[in-house]
């Protein structure tokens, strides 16, 4: 029962991303070609709404269901890992047309070949874990 709410959030997320077409390889290509506002509109309006919701929560000192103040985990400061890691992700995102949310959602839409991409992504994460201490961050 504790997990039902997460299942429902996931279902809602999957529906929204399919209906927005943000899971489409073509939409990602079009975005990187700067030939449509669609993806920028989705990300931009998500960020604006997100800023608004988080600021309101802060002003109202809203508590989460665990009773502590609503809080977003802070990312570590740094430059190399964000630029280099981000660029590596960007290369893969544009090639496969799928980021780590849509990968799973697309399996649900019946694209079973996406399981190959997911397996490769798990392997990529594993190799990062192996090399982590040797990489500049």
């Amino acid at each position: 029962m504790k997990y039902l709410k997460f299942l429902l959030v996931g279902i809602f997320f999957g529906i929204v991303l399919v209906k927005s077409e943000a899971v489409s390889w073509y939409r990602i290509y079009e975005m990187f070609k700067f030939e449509s506002f669609h993806m920028y509109g989705i990300i931009g309006s998500a960020v604006l709404t997100g800023i608004l919701l988080l600021q309101i929560a802060k002003i109202l000192k809203l508590k989460n269901i665990e009773g502590t103040q609503v809080n977003v985990p802070k990312k570590d400061m740094g430059l190399t890992r964000y630029i280099v890691g981000g660029s590596i992700f960007g290369l893969g995102w544009a090639l496969s047309g799928a980021c780590p949310g849509p990968m799973y959602i697309l399996v649900g839409t019946g694209v079973f070949s996406m399981l190959i991409v997911i397996a490769a992504a798990i392997f990529g994460t594993y190799i990062y874990g192996v090399l982590k201490d040797k990489l500049p961050h």
Binding site: F13, I15, I51, G92, G108
Partner: protein
Amino acid sequence: MIDYILQPWPWYVTGPLIALVMFTLIYFGKTFGMSSNLRTFCALGGAGKKVSFFNINWRDYKWNLIVVLGAVIGGFIAQFYLSEPTNIDLNPKTIESLNALGFNNVGKSLLPPELYSLDSIFTIKNLAILIIGGFLVGFGTRYAGGCTSGHAITGISSLQLPSLIAVIGFFIGGLVMIHLLFPLIFG
């Protein structure tokens, strides 16, 4: 009403709804980060015995695996119960440039059958594209500490500079792939 649901939803509806997903997870005391699940899968497979980065208790992240399960179900519901066959309304210039790269069914489905149909994935080239693409996503997101959900949506919404830098990185990689490498791979 049902017509509106069956058609693609506009960006100004879906963008705020994605923010709502993010905010709901934060309200539940968690966070919105889909790439973290890849690490959990490694831990689940026993990678923690060999590599300390995966020495985490996967049960702490079970909630996020449940979100993934929901996302798969949501994808199924949206595709088979909440959609009618419609072409994706892409820019004609986009369609033209993809035709030139050898993609001939542009916008007729979510993904190009030339890459993802079960008939085409068993060539060495296409298999390599899917594996390399997935590998770069898995390696890059963990290196950068997040993906579109963790950095672009959650990180920027909470006004964090590292996330803005990461998103600039996403675009460097994406632009290099589409503008420089696509003509070499598909041309």
